[in-house]
């Protein structure tokens, strides 16, 4: 499903309208306005401290915004706390540090939320979990514990765990930044695979080649604000904004890939 | 059932005097233990196995035996060896013996908490030992062990109440005396409990302020 197939009449899956967020005196999100349409894959890039992670966290309510509106799957997140609980069933998140539960086995990590939140019976949840593990390439590791897995394997389990609740939207917060280079590929492959399935993806990443390959649009952030939005061919190859140019130069200056 | 706090009024003087005794016992015992522990610390981390074993045994003894037992040994036992012991002195000695063991471990903990990077940096800079100790180790050790030292001071104050059982005229003793004189045990013990609470909270409050002023950072209790 490409951008062209989508009808512009459909309400966006995620809509930010003039959103601000402050931590004390620090402005972390500055007048953010952004639409993400259903099925789109959005890459969010920018220097450290630009607010990328915070942006992601306001989508599933881990961070509450101060001003403006955030509408996810039709639910306005300004209202009471119930709204956050509701949309968390439709929004999954994968973290930079994986955040697997070390005292639970791989399979138990995955079936916990479907069973307790989705009220899915254990047998059914286990079956679905096994399919997910197969999909991320970890079929025989279901009884292992996170401490027995490599970083790349742990992150793939984390992805399976996020998928287990059958979300419409998936958020990735620098999913490969904590991985040794040789494991980055296996995780990116899984995410690419997901991008093709019609799930809405928001990926904060430093992997520009990856963004080029999988994103429908790239969002560049700096100092809490959105600096540039556009298709990867534009933003990553012939950007308009000075910040983007500087940022891309700095990134490619240090990388050998 | 009647609760009447006014009956305590004539005894306020008794409580005041007893509180002074409590303060003296606790502070002298604590002070002595702070000094003794500093002197014994080198033995605890010494290279000699004998030294470490001796101190280690002492610490284990104090860790596993009730303070009351130590108190009885000091008060009833030492005189049989020819050492005269009044209740006041015995209380201080027993409390200090117990507290020193914990203080040694607190100091050691403070030293251990210094990030290894600091010791490595000091060594690679070629600084002499006394300088390193005075400028790098000691200030940091004090900072890291500060909260625990405060807790130990409070522990001494609370521990002093045991001295009642050998007749020391401290606060808990006063409570039983006043209680039996007035037949108002409930009111007496509530008042004494409140005095202890105020003492403990005051010490903690002062200690946290002292920490904030000296080290300007979040108190890590």
């Amino acid at each position: 499903m490409t951008i062209l197939d989508r009808s512009d009449q459909d309400p966006p899956a995620i809509a930010f309208e003039h959103v601000w967020k402050r931590f004390g005196d620090n402005v972390v999100l500055r007048d953010v306005t952004l639409d993400v349409h259903a099925g789109e894959t959005v890459a969010i890039i920018g220097p450290s401290g630009s607010g990328k992670s915070t942006l992601l966290r306001t989508i599933n309510g881990l961070v509450t915004h101060d001003e403006g509106r955030i509408i996810v799957d039709g639910v306005d997140l300004v209202a009471a706390n119930d709204s956050v609980a509701t949309i968390r069933r439709h929004v999954g998140m994968v973290f930079q540090q994986f955040n697997l539960f070390p005292h639970l086995s791989v399979i138990d990590n995955i079936i916990l939320a479907p069973m307790r939140v989705g009220r899915v019976p254990k047998a059914e949840a286990t079956l679905s979990a096994r399919k997910l593990l197969e999909r991320v390439g970890l079929a025989d590791l279901e009884h292992r514990f996170p401490s027995q897995l490599s970083g790349g394997q742990q992150q793939r389990v984390a992805i399976a765990r996020a998928l287990a609740t059958k979300p419409d939207i998936l958020l990735f917060d620098e999913p490969t930044s904590a991985l040794d280079p040789e494991m980055v590929g296996e995780v990116l492959a899984v995410i690419l695979d997901l991008a093709r399935t019609g799930v809405t993806l928001c990926v904060v990443t430093h992997e520009l080649n990856f963004a080029k390959k999988m994103a429908d649009k790239v969002v560049v952030m700096d100092d809490g604000g959105i600096v540039e939005i556009g298709p990867p061919s534009k933003v990553l190859e012939s950007p308009d904004h000075e910040t983007t140019i500087r940022f891309l130069k700095a990134l490619s200056g240090g990388e050998s890939s | 059932m009647t609760i009447d706090f006014s009956v305590i009024e004539p005894y306020i003087g008794v409580f005041a005097r007893a509180a002074v005794v409590t303060a003296m016992v606790s502070l002298i015992a604590f002070g002595a233990s702070a000094v003794l522990a500093a002197l014994l610390l080198p033995m605890r981390v010494a290279k000699s196995k004998v030294a470490r074993a001796t101190i280690g045994t002492y610490i284990e003894l104090m860790r596993n035996l009730p303070i009351l037992l130590v108190l009885y040994v000091v008060y009833y036992g030492l005189p049989t060896l020819g050492v005269p012991m009044g209740a006041f002195v015995a209380a201080i000695v027993a409390l200090a013996l117990n507290s020193t063991a914990y203080m040694i471990e607190i100091y050691r903990g403070g030293l251990n908490a210094i990030p290894i990077g600091h010791t490595e940096a000091a060594q690679s800079l070629g600084l002499r030992k006394p300088t390193v100790w005075r400028n790098i180790y000691l200030p940091q050790a004090i900072k890291y062990s500060f909260p625990a030292i405060g807790n130990q001071l409070v522990a001494c104050v609370l521990g002093s109440s045991l001295a009642m059982l050998i007749g020391t005229k401290e606060l808990t003793n006063a409570a039983t005396v006043v209680g039996s004189a007035s037949f108002r045990y409930f009111e007496t013990f509530i008042i004494v409990a409140l005095i202890y609470i105020m003492l403990s909270q005051f010490i903690t409050f002062v200690w946290t302020r002292l920490y904030a002023v000296s080290f300007g950072r979040k108190y890590g209790v």
């Binding site: 309510g61 881990l62 509450t64 706390n81 609980a85 999954g92 973290f95 540090q97 955040n99 697997l100 070390p102 005292h103 639970l104 086995s105 916990l112 939320a113 939140v117 009884h143 514990f145 401490s147 027995q148 897995l149 970083g151 742990q154 996020a162 040794d180 | 059932m1 009647t2 003894l61 860790r63 596993n64 035996l65 009730p66 009351l68 037992l69 009885y72 040994v73 009833y76 036992g77 049989t80 409070v154 609370l158 045991l162 009642m164 059982l165 808990t172 039983t176 209680g179 037949f183 045990y185 409930f186 007496t188 013990f189 509530i190 409990a193 202890y196 609470i197 003492l199 403990s200 909270q201």
Partner: protein, 248 residues
Amino acid sequence: MFNSQYWPDVWILISRGFVLTIVLSIAVVIGSSVIGVTLGLSSHYGRMSTKKYSLSNTLVTVFVRIFRSVPPLVLLFLLYFGIPSAFDIQFDALPAAILGISLFYGAYMIEVVRSGLESVPVGEVEACKALGLNRGQSLRFVIFPQGIRLSLPAGTGLWIGAAKDTALATGIGLFELTTAMMTVRQITLSSWNVFGVAAVLYFGLNFGFSRLGSGLERLLGEDRRIARAQGEKASRGREFAKSRKGST
């Protein structure tokens, strides 16, 4: 050791005392742990709320501040002498001793439990929220299992403290080990023998508790868990974990 004419009496007295001390110690370990875990959990549950203020947290904090600041002996006296005097309720020495010591050490235990629960990595708590688990579920399935294990070392120390302070029951007339020791001393007129016996017994008791603590830690520990889940012996579980730790 002792003058032989006293021996059977001495034996009986010390045994009586030691048995009561053991009973008291077990009771206060259980009592303080129950207080610590229940109040610690409810306080943490309150703290997890997104609302700025938590009633349960405040109440528990007040409880902790009060009961950590009053000497256990005073608590015992208050329960044993004070309550009957004001309220016409009979309070026996044994329950008074158990409750008094449990309250004091329970207050410290609450802090230990709270700090254990708080030590669970923040990222995991975020993951719970992102998955849609509510506070109770996060606590039950993720935070408590890990937090309680983190609390064990400090908790074991408190158990030993509580077991030692059962000696205070002397003050309200219970015939536990310290009372027995002093009684024997008066009968035999020799101090150091009986001090030594009492010391050894207390040592043994506390050693037992600290072994219990480390046994629990191992039982709840990772090696055992891995091994149990995979149906293998514990030692092989440990090897598994070790072999993988290097590859992250």
